[in-house]
């Protein structure tokens, strides 16, 4: 990794979560700044401290690991939380006491959270309305005093970033200062940064594309070719837009880097976890079998579960998501799901513009 020693900023930048995407972002940030990374696992902290390889990535010398959230919050003004959506709220609850309104949080988690009354789980409710479904930026604001919030989204396959290939990301926030801070910290010769004000739209684009990525894995697992994928990507895109609009995002977010850009990347790459889930499903494995030996969480699975209940509430047309839901949780075979989809009465190509 080339050391482009640009203006190293005074305060270190925080990263929370040392999964493969967290590590990749930490490595990019480390090219411009000192980085403090939080890991829950003491083994991971040791590995990072020794500047060895973690999650298949070499650890940059500017990165220091810690197991102390309070220390990160006190040392850094800008923090990038990148932990799975299933533990995001809990992490925020632990971090929250140390946060102040001057903090800037830019998350990189592409999943959804549900917020139900105590004692209720997702299986207890038939549908989910918008208030019950929270994006990660909303979780941050629910749980802390931080309002200057942003997110990262775009085609950012961790393994390619780690290999130093050219790529770009979107930093979305309602605040220009968050966007420009994100740009200042992340940008280097191989990494381009675009700004967007539609925070919710960009978050949703990143979240919903995982559904289509699973479907794309299924197609590959069934040995289908590129005609089928082209069909999937374009119809999937439309489904994302329907769902995204129902949840308060603008169309524009979906046709940019974080939408179509990310969708194409994840649908074509065997590196993606969500793609892998679909692929193995089509090869005849069951969901519990697949999850049992995956190293990291495939967000798409949980997203489908939540999206299905959003669809039922808003009565949106989203056949791909519904079919996947049946495959994952209701025992429908993938072949049958494909047949079902091909019979679905689509007729208009584009009806959202």
């Amino acid at each position: 990794m080339a050391m482009t020693s640009k203006n190293i900023s005074k305060k270190p930048v925080g990263v929370i979560g040392a999964g493969s995407f967290g590590m990749a972002i930490a490595n990019i940030l480390a090219q411009n700044s000192e980085v403090l990374i939080y890991a829950r696992d003491p083994e991971a902290i040791k590995k990072i401290a020794a500047h060895k390889v973690h999650r298949g990535q070499k650890v940059h010398v500017n990165i220091t690991a810690t197991g102390d959230l309070g220390y990160i919050a006190n040392s850094c003004d800008v923090i990038f939380p990148i932990v799975p959506s299933s533990s995001f709220r809990e992490m925020m609850q632990q971090l929250s006491p140390y946060l102040h309104p001057y903090h800037i949080l830019i998350h990189g988690t592409k999943g959804l959270d549900i917020n139900l009354p105590k004692g209720q789980s997702i299986d207890d409710v038939k549908t989910l309305n918008r208030e019950q479904v929270r994006t990660m930026s909303e979780v941050i604001m629910d749980e802390s005093v931080v309002v200057r919030v942003g997110c990262l989204a775009g085609p950012n396959l961790a393994k390619e970033l780690a290999a130093g290939q050219p790529a770009a990301t979107v930093v979305a926030s309602h605040f220009n200062e968050v966007i420009s801070e994100g740009e200042r910290l992340l940008r280097n010769d191989l990494f381009q940064v675009y700004g967007n004000q539609d925070l919710i739209g960009i978050e949703l684009a990143g979240v919903l594309k995982n559904i289509i990525a699973i479907a794309s894995g299924v197609l590959s697992g069934l040995d289908y070719g590129e005609n089928a994928r082209g069909l999937l990507i374009s119809r999937g895109m439309i489904e994302m837009i329907y769902l995204g609009k129902a949840m308060g995002g603008d169309i524009e977010a979906f046709i940019g880097l974080a939408g179509i850009g990310d969708l194409v990347a994840t649908c074509s790459s065997k590196l993606s976890r969500n793609f892998t889930v679909g692929f193995r499903l089509a090869q005849g494995e069951t969901l519990p079998e697949i999850i049992a030996n995956m190293e990291e969480v495939a967000e798409g699975v949980n997203t489908i579960k939540i999206a299905k209940k959003i669809i039922d509430y808003h009565k949106v047309r989203a056949p791909i998501t519904e079919a996947l839901h049946e495959v994952l949780f209701e025992g429908l075979s993938v072949e049958k799901a494909v047949t079902l989809l091909m019979k679905y009465p689509y007729n208009v190509d584009i009806d959202f513009l």
Binding site: P101, E143, R148, E177
Partner: protein
Amino acid sequence: MEPNGKSKKRKSYKPILSGTKEWPVVQLSKNRKLFIEKVVNEAFNKIVKANQRKNQLREELETTLYTEQLRIRKNPWKVDPKDEKRFWNNIKNELVDLVGSENTRKKEEELLRKILVRYTEEIAGNFRKSRYRFAREIIKFGFSRLLNATRVKRFGALFRNEYTLNDKIQIVGKTKQIRKLAKIGTVVMVPTHFSNLDSILIGWIIHVLGLPAFIYGAGLNLFNIKILAYFMNSLGAYKVDRRKKNSIYLESLKTYSNLAIQEGTHSLFFPGGTRSRSGQIESSLKLGLLGTAMEAQREIFINHPNKDGKKIFIVPVTINYNFVLEAPILINEYLVSKGQERYYVESDAYSSSYNMIKFMIKFFTKGSDISVSIGKSMDLLGNYVDNKGRSIDKQGRFIDTRDYFISNGIINADKQREAEYTRRLSEIIVKEYHRINRVFASHLVAFVAFQIWRKRFDKLDLYDFLRLPEEDLFIEYEEFSTVFNKAKNLVMALKKEKKLNIAAHMKNPVEDLIKMGIENVGMYHSRRPLLMNKQKQIITKDLNTLYYYHNRMHGYDLEKHL
């Protein structure tokens, strides 16, 4: 200051400041000249800074001139000063003289200053202690006489040992908190706006609560009515002319409000801008004046690095009426202008002092209760504050509001950030309105009746529906009562979730509620929105007005569950 010599005054709120001399608004008016100068200078600097490029300032002046001349020709008002034409003609001549010559910047800046002085003089209030006292006595005396003649005191009214007016106007909510906070910080009250009466009502409420007079922006159109102008001048109003939309005027107005708040003058905005035309609680607020509070707070933080600056507290207030005089006109304007509000020209229900007085007599002699809910105070980011003015987050921890304005360790001015904060604040205020809004039986009967009819004709669009002949519309009492009961239960459930509030009478049996609601809803309109006929059927004489009162319950999604 002893507003009432009578001995029964004891139980009311004591004024929080012993003498009017210390009132921020008195200080402000005492130094009126200096203050205007300050406003002019600050606005001047801002505009000059924003118009650096060559000819930019000239263009700004020319635009202003153009729109002002257009306004004078197309939309003149009684209250407009006589020399207006002359003033703008002079500006025009001076601008013409500049054409073609070089190095005109200095001259342009002079013209800018001239305009700013004129605008600021016009905006600035003319608060006078003596007149304030007099106006207040008039209101009190007049009102209580009228009330005494007609009303029997009700047991349990909140201030029953105070003015009799208190029997009629209930003040509920966080009254103690606003009094405490007004001592340690600067209060910005943001009420909902349904009627022209609101300005006077709120002025009176502020007095009852023992608070020093607030300044508030009142539409210049109200000053067309002499008697209102008198009261408003006395109560600390400054003038807002909605016809003037040029940036020089807007800058003067914003700077005026901003600096007054920085001086510690308690202020009042109707953040909805104008009266709610539809009868709905405001769902989107005008951000301009609210933004000045945001700027003022940041300036205070910058100017007081040792944290001795005053904190600004936002206090949402809702006003609930059974009857809004202007309702028929407002709703018609709403229906006409829906979607094209920008082209809307203001007209008023009572454009003469005579009509106004007539209305007031009607209003205060007949029993139509008003309730004013004072919401919890919050900081500029919408965090609730405790009685000591400390901001508290959702988890119950203290927050330093300064931190919101800090970037890289220092407080800085970031317009875009503050615009976003203001937008956020306005959303929180709207939510708070819905939460503290008190549902009256009259609101609910209007809602239920309208919904029943609307569902019968759900194939029609709203406009066709409203054109249905009223004579053909009936609801059998049984049906009405069933649906009303359902709606009432929904309201009670929402109350439990703290998503709205209810008037005390809502706990009465359904039968009484229906009777009371129908009797009260829009009770003085010549065409009543709801009546019960001899066959005990529910009927309407004016569907549009019914729609207006029904809209009060908009925003709770009740219709989805009926």
